[in-house]
């Protein structure tokens, strides 16, 4: 503090102060006339990425069947235990969920159920504008969750990959590698 008193005179210091303040005030004044960067929400809705985690749906096969096999993996993975279901078996042996309930008031939209699902049935979509004043209206049953399309993976059918009896030779199933040739050095 004492150094600055002797180095620059009082007048010079005062001019420095005014110059500094003036520069700051000039910057703020210029910003008064610039366009603002606010996006006003209901009039403009910013498009969300497709992988944004919001409302949950239950998807269908390319064949039109429900993908969900009521394996309880999503209910087990859910950190707040908001999923519950009951499974049943059809005449042709295919499992399906008789009822499927998600409590959206408890759901934290973490996406762990989506990661756990083996059949890619349960998926999270970017739709988030479904708040309600009555909390019991937020409990979604299966008919609220089931949709007619395949969600993020239109082509995947679990039953082509698992539980299929082998009819061709080894290596002819989807994604199956050919058996390794033990008598050759080649990879």
């Amino acid at each position: 503090m004492t150094d600055s008193k002797t180095k620059d005179g009082y007048l010079q210091q005062t001019l420095e102060i005014f110059r500094g303040m003036g520069q700051g005030l000039g910057v703020t004044l210029i910003h008064l006339f610039r366009r603002n960067i606010t996006e006003e929400y209901p009039e403009y809705k910013r498009p969300l990425p497709e992988r944004s985690r919001a409302r949950i749906i239950l998807t269908r096969d390319p064949d039109g069947e429900e993908r969900c096999v009521a394996c309880f993996l999503c209910a087990a993975a859910c950190p707040v235990s908001c999923i519950s279901m009951d499974g049943d078996e059809r005449e042709d042996g295919r499992r399906w969920a008789r009822w499927f309930r998600i409590n959206f008031a408890r759901c934290i939209y973490c996406g762990l159920c989506e990661e756990a699902c083996p059949t890619l049935a349960i998926q999270l979509t970017p739709f988030f504008e479904f708040c309600d004043r009555k909390i019991l209206n937020l409990v979604a049953e299966k008919e609220d969750l089931l949709v007619d399309h395949g969600g993020k993976n239109e082509e995947y059918n679990f039953y082509r990959y698992a539980g299929v009896t082998m009819v061709g030779e080894k290596g002819s199933h989807i994604n199956e590698e050919k058996p390794v040739d033990l008598r050759s050095n080649l990879p």
């Binding site: 303040m21 005030l25 703020t28 008064l32 366009r35 603002n36």
Partner: protein, 330 residues
């Protein structure tokens, strides 16, 4: 003119000024938030009515419907009435401010000032000193250590800057030869006093910013964010009254700056009251602009500025003005 007519005119003027000030201060809160938003390249509140203009109404409704908490050990009477002291003194200062020239209505000359005291300047300064009581009592009556410390700091700040406030006005009195605000405005017929007293204008402006406890001197209030301040324990409309008092003080000090240095209601083309309004708006805009730009002064920096910079400069200014006035023979 007769006594009854005089009283009726006085009451009408009082009513209009009161309503004007309260409405003005209320919408100033909205205007400040909008202006601050634009300076910070965002929008201010714009949802509560067309362009957000009903935002003060929404604020008042919110404050009125909040619970009125009174802390347990608080001194009830003082706690209840401290905000009123702040708001009241702020509103009363406007009683001596002339907001237009004389208006002749139906042959009666009506002065556009509620009360043309011949010591108007002293009255204004005295009232701003009384306003310190509201802050001090509020801080004390809250029965909270943080409120007390915030109140003490606010009091120390306000009384320190009142010195430079008063001292910077002495040259204005020297130039106008009167303490009456009406005569000070009339004395600026040829040129506003800012042209001949730029230093006094600067000192008065800085002291005014410190009196209202605005940024960069808002440590008594910013302590709310850091620790607490003199109005921590207040809720609901009492808190609203403190803040209304602050905004009314802002408008009133803007009016005082306009009267003392910018020529009051004088101006070439527009009607006088419009000029007055324009000048007050300009000063208040500068208050808001400062708030958007500057960081807060630390308490010791604040005290250093008030006592060791502004008071000596104001005293030197008085001596210089007196010397020049003697030389020029006025």
């Amino acid at each position: 003119m007769s006594l009854v007519l005089g009283i009726i005119l006085l009451l009408v003027k009082l009513g209009l000024v009161l309503i004007g000030l309260l409405v003005g201060a209320g919408w100033l809160t909205f205007g400040e938030r909008r202006l601050l938003g634009w300076i910070q390249i965002r929008l201010g509140p714009n949802r509560a009515g067309p362009w957000g203009l009903l935002q003060p109404v929404a604020d008042i409704v919110k404050l009125l419907t909040k619970e009125d908490l009174i802390p347990e050990g608080a001194d009830r009477f003082i706690f209840l009435y401290a905000p009123a002291v702040v708001a009241m003194t702020a509103l009363l200062i406007f009683a001596v401010v002339p907001f237009a020239g004389d208006v002749t209505l139906m042959g009666i000359r009506i002065p556009m000032v509620i009360s043309d005291l011949n010591v108007g300047l002293l009255f204004a300064l005295a009232l701003s000193s009384l306003g310190v009581y509201g802050v001090a009592l509020g801080g004390w009556a809250s029965n909270s250590k943080y409120s007390l410390l915030g109140g003490i700091r606010a009091v120390a700040q306000m009384i320190s800057y009142e010195l430079s406030l008063g001292l910077s006005l002495v040259p204005v009195v020297m130039l106008a030869h009167s303490f009456s605000l009406v005569e000070i405005v009339q004395g600026q017929a040829k040129y506003p006093y800012i042209l001949v007293q730029p230093v006094a204008f600067l000192i008065f402006f800085i002291s005014a910013v410190a009196e209202v406890k605005r940024i960069p001197f808002d440590l008594p209030e910013a302590e709310n964010e850091l620790v607490a301040g003199y109005h921590t324990e207040y809720s609901g409309m009492r808190f609203g009254l403190y803040f209304l008092g602050e905004y009314v003080t802002m408008v009133v000090l803007g009016a005082l700056v306009a009267v003392f240095f910018l020529g009051g209601w004088r101006g070439p083309l527009l009607p006088p009251i419009l000029w007055f309004f324009v000048k007050v708006t300009l000063i208040v805009f500068v208050f808001i602009w400062l708030r958007a730009t500057l960081p807060r002064l630390r308490y010791d920096q604040l005290m250093h500025l008030g006592w060791k910079v502004l008071v000596p400069v104001a005293l030197l200014n008085i001596v210089a003005t007196g010397g020049v006035a003697l030389m020029l023979g006025r």
